[in-house]
Amino acid sequence: MFHAIPYILSLIAAICAALPVLLLEPSRTQSAGEIRLVHLLVTWNPAITAILLALGLVLAARSFFRLENRAARAALLIPVAVLGLGTYAARVNVFEKMFAPLPDPGFVAAHQADFLSPHDLVLGVSLGDESKAYPVGIVAYHHIVNDRLSDEPFVVTY
């Protein structure tokens, strides 16, 4: 039974890491409870998975030295690998990987915007006497642009 603990820990880590992605599946409707659970998991997953990984490594090492059977020893690699993957996954924002962020938005003057035709839609914003245009064809790809205009911070979403 003692030797099963690393497997159980790895299962917990896998569930913690996979649940947010599974629950936020785009084509379904999420309940308030689900959103609450996913937010909790995303917030605490880095800590939870790190603790599970540390525990799992210690226990797997103990099992390794106590087990006689070679195959059973080798099989301990499986929970260790799953724990490692879960710890990594908890630190990666899948949605940032799927939709490239635009951390350093570059701008040109209107007369240089040769990549646009008159028929390209733009999201336009004016603050003070400054104006910026965000081509829909660009923001529909990045979805979020954090920016400022006349020293006012704002976020462009699409």
């Binding site: 947010p20 936020l24 599946e25 785009p26 084509s27 409707t29 999420q30 959103i35 937010h39 995303v42 917030t43 924002n93 949605f95 940032e96 939709f99 490239a100 962020p101 938005p105 570059g106 701008f107 040109v108 003057a109 209107a110 240089q112 915007a113 040769d114 990549f115 646009l116 035709s117 008159p118 028929h119 390209d120 839609l121 733009v122 999201l123 336009g124 914003v125 603050l127 400054e130 104006s131 910026k132 245009a133 081509p135 829909v136 064809g137 660009i138 923001v139 529909a140 790809y141 990045h142 979805h143 979020i144 642009v145 954090n146 006012e152 911070p153 704002f154 976020v155 979403t157 699409y158």
Partner: protein
């Protein structure tokens, strides 16, 4: 588009997931989750707060450039330019916002298809969705929502939609298209951008200048005074010259998305669907 200061904290956002088919963003400063379409904090330390909307315009580049000659334009990341849908010609289908309106063939008694594009207006606690296809066909559309007389106007480019209040002082104006649109649009086409593009950015597909004039949005005439109004909502000639209509916030959206966040929305039927 949202102002990103909340309680004096300047937030920066990243994508974090999807909720009810609309994306959720998280701020890096507090880890709070925000619903993109409503600007509402749904989980986390700032839950219950709302982002303040920043008025914005979704219009064709020609109109924006004419109205804001000194505008800066987001050029994006040349690494991703193959993924951008840019340099569209009239009638192209652009990412999420169509260059021409799909023909839905709306018939009496049929529900709006989920993917139908609508223009949503929220006013005084009421919400109403105007199918783009009907707006484009009937523009200018005068209507009343929560007692406020409003004008929805699709520009000459067939892409750009703006909403205005039809109330000016004590008067409520009715708008019609001028008999000769071309003669009255009052503006010569401006030159297309000619400077060489940024390194790595492709040129836009170029139609002939006559086919894609860099025009203004067109004009309307009010029935009460006969003044001529530009697409920016300013009277450019006639008794009301110099006056401005109050802009109303409108949102171009898919019907399913609008409906999810405005479950009690009314639908504009254009006098065709009854109701």
């Amino acid at each position: 588009m949202w102002r990103s200061s909340v309680d004096g904290i300047e937030l920066t956002f990243q994508l974090v997931g999807i909720n009810n088919q609309n994306f959720v963003m998280a701020d890096r400063q507090t880890g709070t989750w925000w619903q993109q379409v409503t600007g509402e904090a749904i989980r986390g330390p700032l839950a219950g707060k709302r982002l303040e909307p920043l008025p914005w315009d979704e219009v064709g580049f020609a109109i924006w450039r004419r109205e804001h000659p000194r505008t800066q334009v987001l050029a994006g990341d040349p690494q991703h330019h193959d993924s951008y849908r840019l340099g569209l010609e009239a009638g192209d289908d652009s990412a999420g916002s169509r260059g021409s309106f799909p023909t839905l063939g709306l018939a009496a008694g049929t529900a709006l298809p989920e993917e139908a594009l609508i223009v949503g207006v929220e006013l005084g606690g009421s919400a109403k969705a105007y199918p783009l296809e009907l707006l484009a066909e009937q523009t200018p559309v005068g209507d009343t929502l929560s007692g406020e007389p409003l004008l929805l106007w699709v520009a000459e480019d067939g892409l750009s939609v703006r909403g205005f209040s039809r109330r000016l002082d004590d008067r409520v104006l009715d708008f019609v298209r001028p008999a000769d649109d071309r003669a009255l649009s009052g503006a010569e086409p401006i030159e297309p951008p000619t400077t060489a593009p940024l390194e790595g950015m492709p040129h836009a597909a170029r139609d002939s200048p006559e086919a894609t004039p860099w025009r203004a949005g067109g004009t309307l005439i009010d029935a009460q005074t006969g003044s001529t109004w530009s697409f920016s909502g300013e009277a450019i000639s006639g008794p009301l010259a110099g006056r401005r209509l109050e802009r109303l916030r409108v949102l171009k959206d898919y019907w399913f998305d609008w409906q999810a966040y405005n479950p009690r929305t009314a639908i504009y039927s254009g006098g065709r669907l009854g109701g």
